[in-house]
């Protein structure tokens, strides 16, 4: 059983956490091409090496970010999501509205 060190709860069995996928920025939802959007929704870097990932500590409903080596199964570093996402995110209105 892997140990994951939660910034809030300390070292815990990884079975307390839910894997949330790689940390990726999504392209601008209205002006990116279909291909760019499909890439964001479906394609994966699936890196063999150190990856930044979302993890959810279920007992405290707490989303964190972990840097993990996907080959060695080693967790290098974990920290609160606020380290990366500190600001209130806004979305611009769609340029032209699809009224269909």
């Amino acid at each position: 059983m892997k140990i994951l060190n939660c910034p809030l709860n300390g070292p815990r069995n990884i079975s307390e956490f839910v894997y949330g996928g790689e940390v990726v920025e999504h392209p601008e939802p209205h002006i990116s091409s279909n291909a760019e959007w499909a890439d964001y929704v479906f394609l994966e870097n699936n890196t063999a090496g150190v990856v930044r990932e979302w993890w959810y500590h279920a007992p405290t409903a707490y989303w964190i970010i972990a840097e993990r080596d996907t080959v060695a199964d080693e967790i290098i570093r974990t920290y609160p999501a606020s380290e990366v996402y500190g600001e209130r995110m806004a979305y611009p209105a769609p340029p032209q509205l699809d009224e269909s």
Binding site: N9, S15, P59
Partner: protein, 239 residues
């Protein structure tokens, strides 16, 4: 003749199991609470010193969550630990648990002499927006206390966190998975350590799964002769 749980509007999620075990009920904070199981106070105190479980679901509790979860309760006079996952006992006996920067949990004392839960719930108002909001802990969670010298061994059969006394100090909090249910464990020994207190833990978990957790605990306890006790025994020990 003790109070019948169904005489009250509020009922413990496991009141049937308690009744089947021969619990004697009395009203605590508007709910029928198991005060004893007919074995006599002394016997139950001995039981609680060895290994016992007690249903505290009747006792008042409150929770607050939000960005002001530290500042606002502090402004109401609560003393909150500087560290997450630590709890502090207030002057009136209530326990204030810091679950995260953005969440606190408040538990009544066993004697229910503290009015803190009621008071702070009263004090809260949505206007102007306080940046902190009530968590209905009283209904979200059932509340058990597990006490006695074998209590840490019992937890070791259900929970992957090391809760042994020398690794899990008084007041410490573990928010973890217990028999595959999410739960909150708080170490809160009975009586003062300097006069030989008894190892004890609060356990709060999903009220809808209370029956399941109760059965898991009874089954795991059997090995050490663990059994349920009433609130009276715990109150007796907590003076």
């Amino acid at each position: 003749m003790s109070l019948a749980p169904q005489d009250k509007l509020s009922r413990s999620p496991i009141y049937r199991q308690l009744a089947e075990l021969g619990a004697e009920f009395a009203e605590v904070a508007g709910m029928a609470c198991a005060m004893g199981f007919g074995g006599g106070l002394e016997a139950e105190v001995e039981q609680a010193k060895s290994l016992a479980i007690c249903d505290l679901s009747a006792l008042p509790r409150a929770g607050f969550k939000g960005r002001e979860a530290q500042s606002w309760p502090a402004a109401q006079g609560l003393v909150i630990s500087p560290d997450n996952n630590m709890s502090l006992v207030q002057d009136d006996g209530a326990l204030v648990a810091r679950l995260a920067d953005s969440e606190v949990l408040i538990l009544s004392d066993l004697a229910c002499e503290s009015g803190l839960c009621a008071a702070i719930t009263q004090a809260w108002s949505p206007d102007p927006d306080p940046g902190v909001y009530p968590v209905p802990r009283g209904h979200t969670n059932c509340w058990f206390m597990i006490s006695g010298g074998h209590a840490d061994a019992l937890f070791a059969k259900l929970c992957g966190v090391d809760l042994r006394p020398h690794k899990f100090p008084l007041g410490a909090i573990a928010q973890t998975s217990m028999a595959r249910l999410n739960g909150i464990v708080i170490r809160a020994d009975l009586g003062r350590a300097d006069v030989g207190g008894t190892l004890a833990y609060h356990l709060l978990t999903d009220s809808a799964s209370a029956g399941y957790m109760w059965m898991c605990l009874l089954d795991a306890m059997a090995e050490w002769g663990g059994a349920p006790v009433g609130l009276t025994a715990l109150r007796e020990m907590d003076t």
